[in-house]
């Protein structure tokens, strides 16, 4: 190595669900999520690691099945490899589905790119009583192969050493022998000036997947395809695949023991989760348990935080001289920020459960269970992931709708996402449900989420009938095996979300609380501005029994939904600056029916600023962002009024 460099780029490539992102996290220490659902990693991520004085720049490409398909993720990976070839590819291969994973490997090898192969999830394979001979496989592929496991760090140094050893790997393109007619076609394309791998790629993608061809080459390509079509019923894609799998089976014959079917535990889990009659009840039960646990388990640490916040408030109150600054600190800042901070445990729990659904493999099963219902409203099972992610935060959820290719289904998924009640709305529910429905708070919570889902579906059905249909995208989904989520990645994920929440409290909510307090405290003589504003808009909300305080809180929630809770705390300035005080004040000011209506209004009304901006970006127009805002406001008003009217009769 005469020209030893100090930095190298390594790209991670692998099938969806092969544990690639976990490995990426281990290598770079980056804090990201591994989804168990195809295509969660849509855009590539980057990270660094310095190893033995050499800087490695890692790129996590989207999970793909092939380099020859024309799906978004595949095009991202394909273009990347051609336009900015990395110094080395780390091909992550799931040991439990070797043949299919190696099909992608064979495409990379044909292209003659330098590769190191990480055989992932060997532990799962061994649990099944199967084995792979790594050295035999390495010999067959003529590439270094190393065992890896996304759940433990023990193999990372060996892997890094192997990467370091291979940064100057000289790669010879792999040569697979295809069926004679296919070989003829390849030869004719080679004569036209294509390389062998380009010729194969052209044929297996039926004329896509190879860029920058001259007109002559293109013509020759179409002629070769036409000739193949006249000779064979099979598509060229199938014929190429047969060649690939022939090569792979030859390899595995020597290196891999024969596989069993699904494990007994997986079979048992699936027999319940996918059961024709039990599947949907179990799904609904799981969701209910999730919300119930979010509320009940979260209330214990919430009490401790509440006690801490009141203590701080009392200390500041006792030691600071009476002044405007003291009021700002105690009534504006500590009360407002503390009022939202209390909900940290609930929010963290909710994200924990969503991550659990995703990483265990249940999310894909739920997509199967709900596909039929989804298809009735112009969506399909794939829209399920963005919708459940919406329970966490609508912003990444709307971005994840990129995995849906059919434009209409994608637009509908984006527009209904704000009705999936995000975690920012949770504080308002927890606060109000705790006051007005102490005994059944978990059930009220569950009911609100269900109402959100129902409204989302109704709107989707309506949109599906108004937006013109384009071609319907086929719903083909691989079910990942059940996996026990790694505690490490769950912890990282929850830690990340807690950090996001705290940053939001330190930013938007802090500013919002101070702003509300200012508007509330000035002018010092006469009616405060906030109250004036509240009274001005209040008639609009009077039919639901809201006072000017609730009106103001709802207006402020436009910035971020957590601010609603903070505003309620600030405007209901009670002598005690703790939750109990606020609860007492709210409980006496509002009728239970109004409390319920306030929750429904919070659930349905316009998305927060960040979400509106995301809708605008993802749909490419202000028009749809505007539609989303208007739709939310109208529905919220009607919904809250209905709930108030009906609940007044019963409660």
């Amino acid at each position: 190595m005469s020209d030893a460099r100090s930095s190298y780029t390594v790209a991670l490539i692998g099938n969806p669900n092969c544990g690639k992102t976990s490995l990426f996290n281990q290598l770079t220490g980056a804090r990201q999520r591994t989804g168990n659902m195809a295509g969660v990693t849509v855009t590539s991520r980057e990270g660094h690691k310095t190893w033995r004085g050499v800087d490695f720049h890692f790129i996590d490409l989207p999970g793909i099945y092939s380099l020859a398909n024309s799906r978004v993720e595949e095009m991202v990976a394909r273009d990347y490899l051609i336009e900015t070839p990395p110094d080395l590819i780390l091909n992550v291969v799931d040991a439990n589905n070797l043949a299919r994973n190696l099909a992608l490997t064979s495409q990379i090898l044909e292209q003659g790119l330098p590769v190191v192969i990480a055989l992932n999830m060997l532990d799962e394979l061994e649990k099944q009583g199967d084995s792979v001979d790594l050295s035999e496989l390495s010999l067959g592929l003529a590439k270094p192969v190393i065992g890896s496991d996304g759940r433990s760090n023990s193999h990372i140094s060996a892997l890094m050493d192997m990467l370091l050893d291979n940064v100057d790997q000289q790669a010879e393109p792999l040569l697979i022998n295809y069926e004679p007619h296919l070989e003829q076609a390849i030869t004719s394309l080679e004569h036209a000036g294509l390389t062998r791998w380009q010729s194969v790629r052209w044929l297996e993608s039926a004329g896509e997947g190879v860029a920058l061809l001259s007109d002559d080459q293109r013509e020759e390509g179409h002629r070769a395809l036409a000739q193949l079509a006249s000779r064979h019923d099979e598509s060229p894609a199938e014929m190429v695949a047969e060649g690939r799998y022939g090569y792979i089976h030859g390899l595995l014959h020597k290196s891999s023991s024969e596989h069993q079917d699904q494990s007994a535990a997986d079979h048992w889990l699936d027999s319940i989760a996918l059961n024709r009659w039990l599947g949907i009840p179990v799904f609904i039960l799981l969701l209910w348990v999730m919300f119930e646990a979010t509320f009940t388990l979260g209330s214990y640490p919430a009490d401790w935080i509440d006690a801490g916040v009141s203590w701080v408030g009392q200390q500041v109150g006792a030691f600071m001289p009476e002044s405007l600054l003291k009021n700002l600190l105690v009534e504006g800042l500590i009360a407002g920020v503390g009022g939202v901070l209390v909900f940290l445990p609930n929010v963290v729990l909710l994200f924990f459960f969503i991550a659990l659904l995703e990483q265990s493999g249940y999310m894909a099963r739920a997509a199967f269970l709900t596909d039929n219902l989804m298809s009735k409203v112009g969506l399909h099972g794939k829209a399920f992931v963005p919708l459940v992610m919406g329970f966490g935060c609508n912003v990444p959820a709307i971005m994840s709708a990129r995995t849906i290719e059919e434009p209409r289904a994608r637009l509908i998924t984006i527009l209904i996402n704000p009705f999936m009640s995000c975690s920012a709305r949770l504080p308002v529910y927890v606060l109000l449900a705790g006051i007005f429905f102490t005994e059944h708070a978990g059930t009220v919570l569950f009911g609100l989420y269900m109402l959100g889902i129902l409204v989302a579906f109704a709107i989707a059905a309506l949109l599906a009938r108004t937006i013109p249909e384009k071609h319907d995208e086929a719903f083909i989904m691989e079910l990942p095996p059940w996996r026990f989520p790694s505690p490490r990645s769950m912890l990282l994920h929850v830690w990340d979300k807690a950090g996001d929440f705290l940053r939001k409290i330190g930013g938007v909510i802090l500013v919002g609380s101070i702003l509300i307090w200012l508007l509330q405290s000035f002018p010092q003589q006469g009616t405060p501005w906030l109250e004036q504003l509240g009274h001005f808009v209040a008639p609009l909300f009077a039919p639901m029994g809201f006072g000017w305080q609730e009106t103001v809180a709802l207006l402020s929630g436009f910035i971020a939904k957590e601010v609603i809770a903070a505003s309620l705390v600030v405007v209901y300035q009670t002598d005690m600056n703790d939750m109990a005080g606020l609860q007492a004040a709210l409980g006496s000011a509002l009728a239970p029916a109004s409390g319920l209506a306030l929750m429904v209004f919070t659930l349905l009304y316009m998305p927060c600023l960040a979400t509106i901006a995301t809708i605008r970006r993802e749909t490419g127009s202000w028009r749809w962002a505007g539609v989303s805002v208007m739709m939310g406001l109208v529905l919220a008003w009607i919904g809250a009024w209905l709930v108030y009217t009906l609940a007044s009769l019963w409660l």
Binding site: E238, A241, A364, F475
Partner: protein, 75 residues
């Protein structure tokens, strides 16, 4: 017969795959190939979609797509 006609607990082998080119490419990429053993793994409440064991993997398909996959029963 096609995959949609396969009943629970029946074993079959894929004979041919028809349908539009993008669908065929998609199936091939997922490792759905001629000659593979198939059986029904799960059926949703209304019968569509279904999950099939194809080779060693479980794949969820709607009837519209499964109808393009020709299979023959195995005893």
């Amino acid at each position: 017969m096609t995959l949609t006609q396969l009943k629970a607990r029946q074993q079959a082998r894929i004979k041919a795959i028809a349908g539009p080119e993008p669908l065929r490419q998609r199936l091939v990429a997922l490792g759905v190939l001629k000659g593979l053993q198939v059986s029904v793994s799960a059926t949703s409440l209304l019968g569509n979609p279904r999950i099939y064991f194809i080779g060693k993997q479980q794949i969820c398909l709607r009837s519209a797509e499964a109808g393009y996959i020709e299979v023959e029963l195995q005893s």
